[in-house]
């Protein structure tokens, strides 16, 4: 699994390097969660992206899409060679994900704080239609500044959307600096609990913890689950780790070379 996740990291960084822009730090930090979802946890079929019974993955913090694109390519939704078209004119791989342009995407995202609401809408529709699929959402911690997100937190609790699981990518960084300075959001666990959610705290880089947390969510029949996953922004590349300056930056040639070396990739 670690190897798989590092391949996604390398593929995402190569695409961002080629594009000359993109969000490196968040993509690396979310790689393990995305890898676990697409290659271990979710029921999905790359040859049939619209399969009615598929589990849904909603990427709320759309800017980390390079890592999602890398996972979709690796899973076979499209030819991996297309990753090099990231952010170019006419490419299905837009700078922020657009559902209509790329099979496998569930939503269009980028503006922050709207993903959980969409995931909750899908989960509510699934319950109404007595469908058994599960809905997963990835949000950043910075997104917890948005009112739209908390509106969805309340809605999911009210309608007991136990088929909904949100991963909070808790890397303690947002665009301009540490979350504690920009807008403190602690205690997140207490907040979710107070809103009636089931909560699990894990490391977002430990595959067994990720799987175990999803299993706990599956066994909770009353409430939605928030998995608060501590992550390191830029994880896997030493000079990118924990530095918010890598939020929206592409590596140069030497940096890419060094990064690929650290990731044991070519």
């Amino acid at each position: 699994m670690q190897e798989k996740a590092n391949k996604l990291r390398a593929d995402a960084l190569k695409a961002i390097f080629k594009a000359g822009s993109g969000h490196s730090g968040g993509s690396l930090g979310a790689a393990d969660i995305i890898a676990a979802l697409y290659f271990k946890i979710m029921n999905h079929d790359a040859s049939n992206p619209d399969w009615e019974s598929r589990d849904r993955f909603v990427l709320s913090n759309g800017h980390v899409c390079p890592i999602l694109y890398a996972a979709l390519a690796e899973a076979g939704y499209f030819d991996g060679k297309k990753l090099s078209s990231l952010r170019q004119l006419g490419s299905p791989l837009q700078g922020h994900p657009e559902r209509e342009r790329l099979p496998g995407l569930e939503t269009t995202s980028g503006p922050l704080g709207s993903g959980l609401a969409q995931a909750a809408g899908i989960a509510a529709a699934a319950k109404l239609g007595q469908k058994r699929y599960r809905v997963f959402c990835l949000t950043s911690d910075g997104e917890h500044n948005e009112g739209n997100h908390w509106e969805a937190v309340m809605f999911a609790s009210k309608y007991k959307l136990s088929n909904l699981t949100v991963f909070v990518d808790r890397n303690f960084q947002q665009l301009s600096g540490p979350t504690s300075e920009i807008m403190p959001i602690e205690s997140l666990t207490t907040k979710y609990k107070a809103f009636g959610w089931n909560t699990v705290n894990i490391s977002g880089h430990d595959f067994s913890e990720i799987e175990k947390a999803v299993e706990l969510a599956r066994r909770c029949y009353q409430n939605p689950t928030a998995i608060i996953a501590k992550t390191v922004m830029g994880k896997g590349v030493s000079f990118m780790e924990n530095d918010h300056k890598w939020h929206g930056k592409a590596p140069n040639k030497d940096q890419l070379k060094q990064a690929l070396k650290e990731l044991n990739a070519k």
Partner: protein, 329 residues
């Protein structure tokens, strides 16, 4: 004279009035009976937006999201992507007033069939004042790619519009007013999204009055008054602001040679602007605009407000005379 499918009694005293909101509520029940995928979400305005009957009949398909308009449309976006046809209801001032970006990204760009219902649009909200009198909603929604915009004239047309928009696969904005208004159309009057039609028609018209919404009643009264003073006119109901029925609008401009637009909205960015854009490109004629001219509303009875803001029958008559002076220069 009035088109044959229009209620022939509209100029009589004590003519029946009904609320467009009730037209929405009743149309919704009909649509919901025909299509089990229709769901309704509201932001703590179930009574005001007339979705209570739906809630009673289809409790599982009804979702109260609380006073949360951003959540309202984004949750609906998710439901639409999972195969539902969500109708989201609130006051137009709040939805699309407060949640425009969410509508832009998760509904219009995402291209999912959410039906955004904006009630209490226009000055006719009355006493609640400027904060609740939404005068910019058409402008906000007409600029969004993929979005269709419909502003029906009365109870009957609102009912038909609801049924029509529930059968199209695009994001749609439906706007209507709070107060009761004259029953201008009947069950027989044809309604089709994207097709404007003539309410009043005379031979060799000197002016075409093009509008949407209940304010067209003032236009019809103006047309009758103008006719008595020897000025013939056309009155066209352009209920679909987007996509505009360009063919009908251009034909009317060709026939009449002058246009007055009428709407309960800012003149900037509304139906008047849409008509002006189309005519500027296809058949430029003098145009004048009836609507709110760059001001906010205020508290008052609707009739007082229409007088204060220059949107009565008398104002339309004056406006027609003004455009005719420009036409005959």
């Amino acid at each position: 004279m009035l088109n044959k499918d229009i209620n022939p009694n509209i100029f009589k005293r004590n003519i029946d009035k009904k609320s467009l909101r009730d037209g929405f509520g009743n149309g919704l029940l009909i649509s919901a009976g025909n299509n089990k995928d229709i769901v309704v979400l509201t932001a703590d305005l179930e009574e005001s937006t007339r979705v209570v009957d739906f809630k009673k009949k289809y409790p599982k398909r009804f979702f109260e999201v609380g006073v949360a308009e951003q959540g309202l449309v984004t949750i609906a976006s998710g439901m639409a992507s999972a195969g539902k046809i969500p109708f989201v209801t609130s006051f137009a001032a709040f939805s699309p007033g407060r949640n425009w970006e969410q509508i832009r990204t998760t509904i219009a760009l995402n291209n999912v069939p959410v039906k955004i219902i904006g009630s209490h649009a226009g000055l006719s909200v009355g006493e609640d004042g400027a904060t609740h009198q939404m005068l910019e909603d058409i402008a906000l929604m007409r600029v969004l790619p993929n979005m269709q915009v419909v502003a029906p004239i009365d109870y009957e047309e609102t009912k038909k519009a609801v049924i029509a928009i529930s059968n199209i696969d695009s994001p749609t904005y439906l706007r209507f007013s709070r107060s009761t208004s004259t029953l201008i159309t009947t069950e027989k009057t044809k309604f089709e999204i994207g097709k404007a039609y003539t309410l009043w028609e005379e031979k060799d018209p000197a002016v075409a009055i093009i509008g949407c919404g209940p304010l067209l009643y003032e236009a019809l009264k103006a047309a009758r008054a103008l006719s008595k003073s020897g000025i013939s006119s056309l009155v066209i109901n352009s209920h679909t602001v987007k996509p505009l029925d360009e063919q009908t609008i251009v034909r009317a401009a060709r026939t009449a040679g002058a246009v007055v637009t009428v709407e309960d909205h800012q003149t900037a960015g509304g139906l008047g602007s849409v008509v002006a854009e189309v005519l500027a490109q296809n058949f430029p004629v003098p145009i004048e605009f009836i609507g709110v001219l760059g001001r906010f509303g205020q508290s008052g009875a609707p009739a007082e407000l229409y007088k204060e803001y220059g949107m009565t029958k008398e104002d339309i008559v004056k406006c027609v005379k003004k455009v005719l002076r420009r036409k005959n220069l």
